[in-house]
Amino acid sequence: MVDLKKPYAQVAETECPRCLTVMTQEAMIEHYQVCRGCGYHFRMPAAARIHLIADEGSFTEMDQDLVSKNPLSLEGYEDKISEAQKKSDLSDAVVTGTAKIDGRECVLGVMSFQFMGGSMGSVVGEKITRAMLHGADTNKPVIIFTASGGARMQEGIFSLMQMAKTANAAALLDDLGIPFFIVLTHPTTGGVTASFAMLGDVAIAEPGALIGFAGPRVIEGTINKKLPAGFQSAEFQQEKGFVDKIVPRKELKKTLSFLLRTHTGA
């Protein structure tokens, strides 16, 4: 279960990988885990994300006890999951629940890259689908933050089929006129990109986030040369027409609040 009392990791100092600015934990929290020197957006644990976006005390987690099976009977897979669970306090790579943003209700899903690369297996697919269906059932807008390396290979064909499942839920939201907003964070690739992540009514991205289908190394392997800097960045995707708006983390809550305000009656 996600622990919102301790949303941030206990790290005394953090060094920016891009400009080498060193920030204390207090400074990191104050700056929304964004480098004050160059604006680099650090990855954010799910709890910190919820802390940042949801009104205080408004988040109620759902489906927190779903645990994956091991359909391929892969050696060590259960251990890998329990290890990731201990490290993250999460049952799998997404946290879902209901929340309020500036007083407006919504269903909120936050993926966690820290949990096995944010990969989507049966549990992630099911929880995201249930979150969307809950939005449909209770007439609440659905907001999902993505962060994923793609489908979880350890679950074989079941992970592939979660793409169809989440896309089907997105189709249902379309049909019922329920707002569905996606926030693409670093990185969002593979089967998550090729399913619900690209199906939002509005697609927001954080600055500098890597967003794509095939990973950069796979593409470089295909063409046998290096990709230009910034290929598949949020800025690239906005230029190519696949992202509506790049929003710095500091402005995210305001932007989401605006979207909720303009898409709900009251």
Binding site: D63, D65, L66, V67, S68, K69, P71, L72, L74, S122, V123, G125, E126, T129, R130, L133, A136, D137, A151, M153, E155, G156, I157, F158, S159, L160, M161, Q162, M163, A164, K165, A167, N168, A170, A171, L172, D174, D175, G190, G191, T193, A194, F196, A197, M198, L199, G212, F213, A214, I219, G221, T222, I223, L227, F231, Q232, F236, K240, G241, F242
Partner: protein, 319 residues
């Protein structure tokens, strides 16, 4: 198999006596016999990838009385890696969509080895919507190692194109019957793989990643593809046991390339029998059944035992 080996020995003997040079042919046959000696799954992987395995167009020509191919996504170009058009079986019009690899090097290059770009998937969606408009059933024939992982495909939104197909195919108001005829490679296969019925040919495979990819990422050794294939549960039998596919279509001994008509005929029968049943359903119940089938796929436990009545919720949302 043993009988074949004996015959081979006899043949060698005979060739030796008559001074015939058949070594090249012999070593080819021997290689074929050794294929998959240790791994029945790897044998299927190799059969599924054979250059002379019939592709979507070959099957369409065997199945249909008439067929015209339709080209282009109407936005950017025509993608030869993904084909589609209108065919007739016993006078009944059906929209066909399929991955096309090509059966020789020249065709492979022209068709990008069946690795579709965004234009291919957008063409597929255009033809599917066209089918819906004219109440035509849709048949998809899946045979790709995956969508094209290249920079142009990325720049034009291959992820978005596949995502749109998954979304729209799940709500199309006409019957959709899918067949994995060769390789079912990841999102590139699923991009034309959402439907009411899913069948696999006996020696076809369907997986989230190639055995080579699985080996290099999870087994940390790209040479362990054979081993990976055994672990991945990617054969028709595996997927049937998982409840993901509806049936397995037999192939001629040694693979479908030895008698494509035999398998094509069975595909044709399945298309006709399924359409006869599915077209009697109201569009709403067709969509509900299709969505429910997709919703059911997943393997997890839920400890608290307070499972919501999700199917109840689901039916309500769809009514």
């Amino acid at each position: 198999m043993d009988e074949l080996k004996n015959k081979l020995e006899e043949l060698k003997d005979l060739a030796g006596k008559n001074n015939l040079d058949i070594n090249k042919s012999l070593s080819e046959i021997e290689a074929m016999l050794n294929v998959g000696k240790n791994s029945p799954t790897w044998e299927k992987v190799q059969l599924a990838r054979r250059l002379d395995r019939p592709g979507a167009l070959e099957f369409i020509n065997l199945i249909c009385d008439e067929f015209i191919e339709l080209h282009g996504d109407r936005y950017f170009k025509d993608d030869p890696a993904l084909i589609g058009g209108i065919g007739t079986i016993d006078g009944q019009a059906i929209t066909f969509i399929g991955n096309q690899k090509g059966s020789n090097l020249k065709e492979n290059l022209y068709r990008n080895y069946g690795m579709g770009g965004p234009e291919g998937y957008r063409k597929a969606l255009r033809l599917a919507k066209q089918a819906e408009k004219f109440h035509r059933p849709i048949v998809t024939l899946i045979d790709t190692s995956g969508a094209y992982p290249g920079p142009e495909a990325e720049a034009r939104g291959i992820g978005e194109a596949i995502a749109q197909n998954l979304k729209h195919f799940s709500l199309l108001k006409v019957p959709i019957i899918c067949f994995v005829i060769g390789e079912g490679g990841s999102g590139g296969a699923l991009g034309i793989g959402v439907g009411d019925k899913l069948y696999m040919l006996e020696n076809s495979i369907y997986s989230v990643i190639s055995p080579e990819g699985f080996a290099s990422i999870l087994l940390r050794d790209s040479n362990k593809a054979k081993e990976a294939a055994d672990i991945m549960k990617m054969t028709a039998k595996d997927l049937f046991e998982f409840g993901i596919i509806h049936g397995i279509i037999p192939e001629a001994p040694g693979g479908v390339q030895n008698d494509p008509a035999y398998t094509a005929n069975m595909i044709k029968e399945l298309i006709l029998s399924n359409i006869a049943v599915l077209k009697k359903k109201k569009p709403e119940s067709l969509i509900r059944y299709r969505s429910r089938k997709i919703r059911e796929i997943g393997q997890f436990t839920e400890n608290a035992g307070k499972e919501q009545d999700l199917f109840g919720l689901f039916s309500r949302l769809f009514s």
